[in-house]
Symmetry: D2
Subunit: 342 residues, 4 copies
Amino acid sequence: MTTTAPTDSAARFELAHMAHAELYTPDLEGSLWFFTQLLGMRETGRQQGSVYLRCYEDPYHHSLKLTERDQPGLGNIGWRTTSADALERRAAALDAAGLGLGWTQGDLGVGRTFAFQSPDGHPMELVWDVEKYRAPVELQSRILTRRSKRPLQGLPPRRLDHVNLMASDVTVQKELFEQTLGFGTRERVVDGAGGGTEIGAWMSVNVLGHEMAIMRDQTGSKGRLHHLAFWYGVPQHNSDAAELCREYGIQIEAGPDVHGITQGAFLYVFEPGGNRIELFGNSGILQFEPDHETVTWDLSDFDTGLAIGGGTLPAETYFVYGTPGTDGQDKLLDGWKDRDLV
Amino acid sequence: MTTTAPTDSAARFELAHMAHAELYTPDLEGSLWFFTQLLGMRETGRQQGSVYLRCYEDPYHHSLKLTERDQPGLGNIGWRTTSADALERRAAALDAAGLGLGWTQGDLGVGRTFAFQSPDGHPMELVWDVEKYRAPVELQSRILTRRSKRPLQGLPPRRLDHVNLMASDVTVQKELFEQTLGFGTRERVVDGAGGGTEIGAWMSVNVLGHEMAIMRDQTGSKGRLHHLAFWYGVPQHNSDAAELCREYGIQIEAGPDVHGITQGAFLYVFEPGGNRIELFGNSGILQFEPDHETVTWDLSDFDTGLAIGGGTLPAETYFVYGTPGTDGQDKLLDGWKDRDLV
Amino acid sequence: MTTTAPTDSAARFELAHMAHAELYTPDLEGSLWFFTQLLGMRETGRQQGSVYLRCYEDPYHHSLKLTERDQPGLGNIGWRTTSADALERRAAALDAAGLGLGWTQGDLGVGRTFAFQSPDGHPMELVWDVEKYRAPVELQSRILTRRSKRPLQGLPPRRLDHVNLMASDVTVQKELFEQTLGFGTRERVVDGAGGGTEIGAWMSVNVLGHEMAIMRDQTGSKGRLHHLAFWYGVPQHNSDAAELCREYGIQIEAGPDVHGITQGAFLYVFEPGGNRIELFGNSGILQFEPDHETVTWDLSDFDTGLAIGGGTLPAETYFVYGTPGTDGQDKLLDGWKDRDLV
Amino acid sequence: MTTTAPTDSAARFELAHMAHAELYTPDLEGSLWFFTQLLGMRETGRQQGSVYLRCYEDPYHHSLKLTERDQPGLGNIGWRTTSADALERRAAALDAAGLGLGWTQGDLGVGRTFAFQSPDGHPMELVWDVEKYRAPVELQSRILTRRSKRPLQGLPPRRLDHVNLMASDVTVQKELFEQTLGFGTRERVVDGAGGGTEIGAWMSVNVLGHEMAIMRDQTGSKGRLHHLAFWYGVPQHNSDAAELCREYGIQIEAGPDVHGITQGAFLYVFEPGGNRIELFGNSGILQFEPDHETVTWDLSDFDTGLAIGGGTLPAETYFVYGTPGTDGQDKLLDGWKDRDLV
């Protein structure tokens, strides 16, 4: 059986966590309404048409950058290393793997980064130098580990949690992240009837059940985003969020329910730009074992993996819809275009 | 617009609440396992093959009687009146409506009752004399409004909550209960495309959003049970119950989610005898207005009515499966017969 | 043992529920910030310096009227009857009891009322004609029993729930409400060491565990308000509210915890005007029995009555602070005057 | 400002997590009742008078060993390293620090360990070889990351979470764990009036807000236990646990509420043997930053640190009671000796 975090890998302990993400949106105003008015995220900057946002417990300048584009999709994922040296070592390893794109000047609140792409072409970067967020006096919290007051606007998640990527080949994607960046694969789904093809993998560089998931893109597309997730940590908040989405015309795809895989409390919605967003209502299973073995789900026993309750994941969207869309996919969301923004 | 609780009706304020229910089960041992081991109900008596159970906050001797029969289904629903005189008046009214079956000697913990049937044939009775439950010393709670200690076994609901009946004609059933027994109709669903046919009604004799629901039986059968519901009142407990049902092989039909209709937090499962049981995780909307108007949902806008979140009610079971089953219906539950009872 | 809702009382079934309340505040701006920004209530009118507010599921024009005065305190409590005739009958009964003050022209959204005072002088009125709230299109909810959309501002309670009055003589106050207005006394606390003096009573005209509580005023004052309560119905929301109060400088007195008495999930805070407000995170025990006996707590076994968890009610405020304050009482809140309103 | 996890320390990344703990109890039967009947832990072995228990998601043979002794207290804490080599390196470092006690043969389900003591004398060990728990078929969960089915008995926590130690000198204790074992100090409390004396520190080897806390022992005793904590992760479960403790006569010291420090949802109770047990209802703040700075609370601003809500920590027990007790301390729990075990 596979050991997910080989104790002898040079890549182990080199990445700390996901620090920021960029989403493209064809409806910047609508997306901003969703993230700031319904999810209560606060704006921390604007530059060249992009808007920078953070949740109230996110540690850095921003966790989400929204950029207007013709098509929704993933603009970037930034992984923070555990040290400055680790950044250099992982950059070299990515170059050796043929995936490095080179050093960048960074961004608002982000220093020098090493850009790379996943085997499937997802845009990513590694970073060490980041600007820690310091709240102005009126936003400082009496709860000292909280980087800013909990907002009174909307139903605010506490931080950026994880990303789920669709990939043309799950195994290739997974092995690169294991070997080059030290990810441990906590769980995977295998299609036994399909000769053991991996159709999903849930990976982490720390005790979280996953910070990155990879799911097979049934359309055969490459480099698409399945969803970006924000963390409430409190199950009730997923129910509250579902209610607000229902009230304000944000399309709910599935949930609230709890996945068997990762034990994550999920609510999937589509933000007005078309990207799927997950709201995460617990911490899922935390994995402390240093020599944890990857848990393997067979497709034939997958129902518990998808949902512990009766919540089903709609096959017509969940397993095929990603961003950017493929031809015709934008119609999947047509019924919801007349949302009630107040 | 209809006024649900006409201020001049002689039937108003005559019924207090649902006091007890009887279920038939072809698998008494399995049903008992479910109600006592998973739901933590306590047995308070056995007589002639029936077992009497109560939740820890139920006020009377029992709230549920389980009786072995070839087919699952509803054995009885007992409504308690607001006074001894009200019982006499309502018995006379039922006789006048041609639905009275006559007086009975009662049952364990239940005095003289007036038996009747709904227009569709559902067996019911009215009662005034009941035995209040008095816990033995070791089960007495320090919380004085609690009739017995919260059990340490399973995930115990607090009390019997409501019943949902399938009916061949919703309107006929509804009007009898409004006019003869003083029920207010809080909400109803109308099939506008079907010329305004009522396909569902939610009724109450007190501030609860519903103590009885009536839904159209699409199979054309008469007198069947849709579900019996038990109350947690705490949303998290519905998630906990879903997890336990998943762990121990009890089939989950739908939920946890929240209906738009009644705003009730639902989890539907099938107990081993085949009856659908709802676990109710909040109090739903409470209706205090004495002159509340019935809220009407049109079938074309029904999705929010069914679920506020993404939880769907599976059409292949939710709208057709009832107990007793019609030919072939028992196969709907076949996949779950191998439950893991520990 | 006392039967709380005598089945032969002419007053039974005459009152439906508490419809509205008025609070005085010496800091109208601060109070408005609390009720609209933190609790997300919406303004529905202004008149003669008073501001009218409602929760998103309150059925009528308003549930709370805020009026600026030198001292905080209770301006009014409005009880709605179950019919127009019941209003006339109860007005006559109050007149006969010597407590009637006469008919009024009503208020914004409120028709003709019959004003009276409690034996201790608390200002109250009975009403039948009220204006049902009709939301403008942009505030209409898809959940049809919800009178308006759940707000995105603050942490909004769903409706006005109950009032707690301090009284110089609990028994006198209680008996008037039982005999003249048909309240049932669900629970009471008796000081056994004090010869059986009643020091608290929890009363209701419907299945709620209490819509009015009466607690002995240890300062010997008359006609003071202990607290006014708003309902979340969801336990987690009380924790969320505590966090927001802590973040934004609203003084928390006690909670979140659950009282043994009424089984109510409580959080007590002081709104900026100085009135104590309770946020209510469940529905408490619901009492369906038409012949329920009053539960009596002895002071010597009172700890479970106050709190099921470890949450204590601070003796230096909880049992003596009311509004309007007595000499020196306003200093109890001094430490919190520098709240962080954003 | 201190950086808690120096990026150049050889001790960094050497410890994985707390694997097991041993408690002494003068009332083995009572303690077993509490841990197995109320908390639903399952017994996995007995040996020489000790009983081995685990929560349903604990990864190894056991997480808790109960041993009968005259006095309650801490028998052992076992920390698992991230590799076999790390164990050797940390053993050498402990020897160099003069705290090593030598290698042991291990225990049931535990291989060779390196025993040591904290500067204050708390008994501990490091371990790499542990027996992973494999559930028998009837206890295997369909949720594959769950090592065994969620029990139907009591209100089961999911895993052992953290330990809180009382120490005669917080700083000495803290620095040893930082320098020798790679702990990061997430938060600390300093008595500014006392010249900056540290009176509390919360430390972790992973993203948890704390796996070990150290609080100043005001009695001047050495090596005592403040509490051992088990994790629910769901806030509602802390309320449920409080209710069950109240019902079954287990003394509640404080909570449910949420600490500002660690943002942990706490409930403190005393198990029948006298040890303080914390039930942990969320995950607290998770700390992902590799270069996180220690957050410092001043004693003068400590109230939010202790509790976000109104829940106070009783000074007469919380800051002085530990196990084993000092003279007279056992009387603190006298009032609760007559618990109602059913």
